[in-house]
């Protein structure tokens, strides 16, 4: 499949401050980077380093205090279905069935019910959830909920898929299965992916390109292409090349480590609601 011409990300000299009043601090300091259309980028860094903040800026939920974020040349000034966001904990609507959750984006576009259900049905099948259409989100396992969440974002055919530690709450087995599934889906959809994680294995397994961030205020301290052949499977994780890169990343993360672990940030700002 040919890479689509859309999904180019340009981040130029972005500063972001989050929090309110005396708790306000600089989460990101002068970050600049460009991501090619269709690229799978992993943002790796310690907890609280600002990688989720950067994702929040890309999604349009956090406004930079300096610099600008562009997707395909257009300045990001608010959330848009072109930039789909997947949280660590699912944000499915508990009052809607699985199929209605997936079809939600189309409903917002004004697509007729029958038509949006057909599309949602197809997407659900592609993430392996055929037969779960009329369940409610609370009736699914954590892995299934995230699959629905991904399908719900993909139905809008986003230029960029933004993922904030989407598999961080899953057990090891479910996480491995979800990583495989994500690569499979991505090989068909070929949207740009920006995937935030603090799990080195996960970042190395998934990405075309690895960006490592330092502790607060977040800066990019490493930008590296990962040329492991695709399609990738579990055998990659045990290869010597992989192990060498993992050691390298560990050293990088340790060097940039803060004295005390910082609280995890979210794409919407600090973890506690400061309205």
């Amino acid at each position: 499949m040919i890479a689509p011409p859309t999904g180019r990300v340009d981040i130029a000299h972005v500063h972001i401050e989050v929090g309110a009043g005396v708790d306000r601090f600089e989460a990101l300091h002068d970050v600049s980077l460009s991501i090619a259309p269709g690229e799978f980028v992993c943002l790796l860094g310690p907890s609280g380093c600002g990688k989720s903040t950067l994702l929040g800026a890309l999604a349009g939920h956090l406004a930079p205090s300096g610099g600008e974020v562009r997707v395909d040349g257009a300045i990001v000034d608010g959330p848009h279905p072109d930039r789909g966001l997947v949280f660590q904990q699912h944000t499915l609507f508990p009052w809607q069935t699985v199929i209605d959750n997936v079809a939600f984006g189309l409903k917002m576009q004004g697509v007729a019910r029958a038509q949006r259900r057909v599309q949602a049905h197809e997407l659900l099948a592609s993430v392996g959830l055929q037969g779960f259409e009329s369940r409610y989100p609370s009736q699914l396992s954590g892995g299934m909920q995230q699959r629905v969440e991904i399908a719900r974002v993909l139905i809008n055919r986003p230029r960029v898929l933004l993922m904030d530690e989407p598999f961080g709450a899953l057990d090891a087995l479910a996480r491995a299965r979800m990583q495989q599934l994500l690569l499979e889906v991505w090989s068909r959809v070929r949207t740009t992916v920006v995937f935030v994680t603090h799990d080195i294995d996960e970042a190395l397994f998934l990405a075309d390109r690895l960006l490592v961030m330092s502790a607060r205020p977040g800066r990019i301290i490493e930008d590296r292409r990962l040329d492991f052949a695709r399609p990738r499977d579990e055998s990659l994780v045990t290869s010597s090349e992989f192990a060498a890169l993992k050691r390298h990343c560990l050293r990088l993360l340790h060097r940039g480590e803060a004295d005390a672990p910082l609280p995890r940030m979210t794409p919407l700002g600090p973890p506690i609601a400061t309205l």
């Binding site: 939920h61 959330p79 789909g84 944000t91 917002m108 609370s138 974002v153």
Partner: protein, 288 residues
């Protein structure tokens, strides 16, 4: 855990799960039958005691049962009312007032609650006067409402409305403030426009809390209506109860009380059933 292991040695593992209160001889059906007959017995004892203290005209210093109608007298008053054409009017008027007052309270309480819960400017401007009015019992509004409304009907509906509106309002505010901001963010990322957020996210997310407010509001509705009817009006269950006192139809007092309880319970059950039907995701088996 260790208790389960210990009792499994004695071959009693399945019943061990029922906890330490079990007795070795009782079966579930036997315990249920026992519980049912206990309930029946306690109600019978209550009715017999009631009949005894009233027919004996018992006087215990500070309280006297000399004028309290007996269960038999109550039963006779009930039969009287059931055969009277006034029953339909009393019940009809009360139901009508509750329906209108509650409907207005629902609309006003939910609308205000959504705005106050969602927007800081609304909280700052609208909430202070509401907080001042809230602790005033609706019943104490009765004289003022008689002055404010030319018709007694309107004043009674107003009292009913006041009783219901605050529980609805406060629970709506609480529900809206409790909406997960990530759900709102996700909806925005999926293309929901700001004005669509209410219908698509805020209202359904706050719905369980709103339903709680409606159920509480329905209870206070009846409480306030009955008080209002005792003071003004010619029909209604509250009026009937008070009239029974003034015309010395003492059995009617108890009938009125029971009717009020029954109607209140029924309308609350109706609210809960409607809420359940409208919120299938909150049913058992779809638990969070």
């Amino acid at each position: 855990m260790s208790a389960t292991l210990a009792s499994s040695d004695a071959g009693a593992a399945p019943s061990a799960a029922h906890g330490p209160a079990r007795s070795d001889t009782s079966h579930p059906w036997a315990r249920r039958a026992l519980a049912r007959s206990l309930r029946l017995a306690s109600v019978t004892v209550f009715l017999l005691t009631w009949q005894a203290v009233t027919s004996l005209h018992l006087t215990l210093g500070i309280v006297t049962f000399a004028n309290v109608p007996s269960p038999v007298a109550t039963w006779e008053a009930l039969l009287d009312l059931l055969h009277s054409p006034k029953l339909a009017q009393h019940v009809g008027f009360s139901l009508w007032r509750v329906a209108v007052g509650f409907a207005i309270a629902t609309v006003v309480g939910i609308a205000l609650g959504l705005v106050v819960g969602r927007f800081a400017w609304a909280r700052r401007t609208l909430l202070p006067p509401l907080e001042l009015l809230r602790p005033i019992p609706a019943v104490s509004w009765i004289p003022l409402s008689v002055l404010m409304f030319p018709s007694t009907e309107a004043s009674m509906i107003f009292i009913t409305f006041l009783g219901a509106v605050f529980p609805v309002l406060l629970n709506t505010i609480h529900g809206v403030e409790g909406v997960d901001r990530r759900l709102v963010a996700s909806a925005r990322s999926l293309g929901t426009r700001r004005w669509q957020l209410f219908a698509q996210v805020i209202v359904p997310a706050a719905a369980p809390s709103i339903a709680t407010g409606l159920a509480i509001g329905m209870g206070t509705c009846w409480f306030c209506l009955v008080s209002a009817e005792m003071i003004s009006g010619q029909f209604g269950i509250g009026y009937y109860t008070w009239e029974s006192y003034t015309v010395q139809n003492y059995g009617g007092i108890i009938v009125g009380m029971l009717l009020i309880g029954l109607l209140g319970m029924g309308s609350s059950a109706l609210i809960r059933a409607t809420a359940r039907a409208m919120m299938p995701w909150t049913r058992d088996g779809v638990a969070q």
